[in-house]
Symmetry: D2
Subunit: 95 residues, 4 copies
């Protein structure tokens, strides 16, 4: 049984999946490039919303447990992982 | 008959579609949140590659024709649309 | 004599320069980290506005001339450079 | 007396300040637009590095204390603030 929060996330991803198929059809029907880009940007926005919800859950559960744990290593790993995600969504890629 | 370039873009999007389904399964199987985020970031990277290819084709065809056209309005619209896409992928969202 | 557009861009950059000095002071006065991050994000937003204005001018002048030029190499370079800037502001950095 | 870490951050920001002045001069000397954009992108990269260092310090100090605190409100605020920063650096701005 998956919890409600997870079900909501899966529904968002199913909608994104459908949206990706929609862009495939646009390309096959030779849609105007800017219209295609508007749709891929909308898909990226939807993915970012999923990311924010997943991160929120992660901070409230795994990160909280790790930081409250007497095991210093767990805390450091939790912080390292958050910084990894933050760095990965950096806006300006390395040269 | 769609051209090779479009076929390649559609293949990329089909792979992205499969990748999105994969993340759905990860969530259903209660995968570690950071692993989920790593996958959604990989999907976003793949989408950005599609964007770059679509933009390249757009610049080489529609934008080139619009800028070479005697119709000044076509040039201005082509420039406005490029700026719209550039602004939409701004890295820091408005307050 | 620099034109009005350039003067406006230089004024924006002088304001950004002052904003950067402001963040230096915040750090020296041990301001709350999130407040510091809010200011660096505001600086990045201001820089992106400068980028958009510079790109708009570039598209309307250099890119227009290059695409209208009989020299095919000039057109290709103009397109390559726009794609370089677009790729550099990719939102998700490579692994 | 400011600590070494803060001194290092202030030095980075002084270098960014100088870099911004450099772009002002480029504009005043009518430098090629793409060269200007390359520099503003480099400044944004440098700012993102400052952000990552500030966030790392924040996670290791304020967030750790807030999450370990018996005061549930402190924990929730710490998580909300991290999500605010994460959302603000979203890569695709809202329509």
């Amino acid at each position: 049984m998956i919890d409600e929060q997870t079900e909501a996330l899966v529904r968002r991803l199913k909608s994104i999946e459908g949206h990706v198929r929609g862009v495939q059809r646009m390309l096959e029907e030779d849609a105007y490039c800017i219209d295609v880009l508007r749709q891929t940007l909308a898909i990226r926005r939807a993915l970012e919303k999923v990311d924010a919800l997943v991160l929120e859950r992660h901070l409230s559960t795994c990160v909280t447990n790790a930081i409250r744990s007497p095991n210093e290593g767990e805390r450091e790993q939790a912080i390292t992982e958050i910084l990894e995600i933050f760095a990965a969504t950096r806006s300006v890629s390395e040269k």
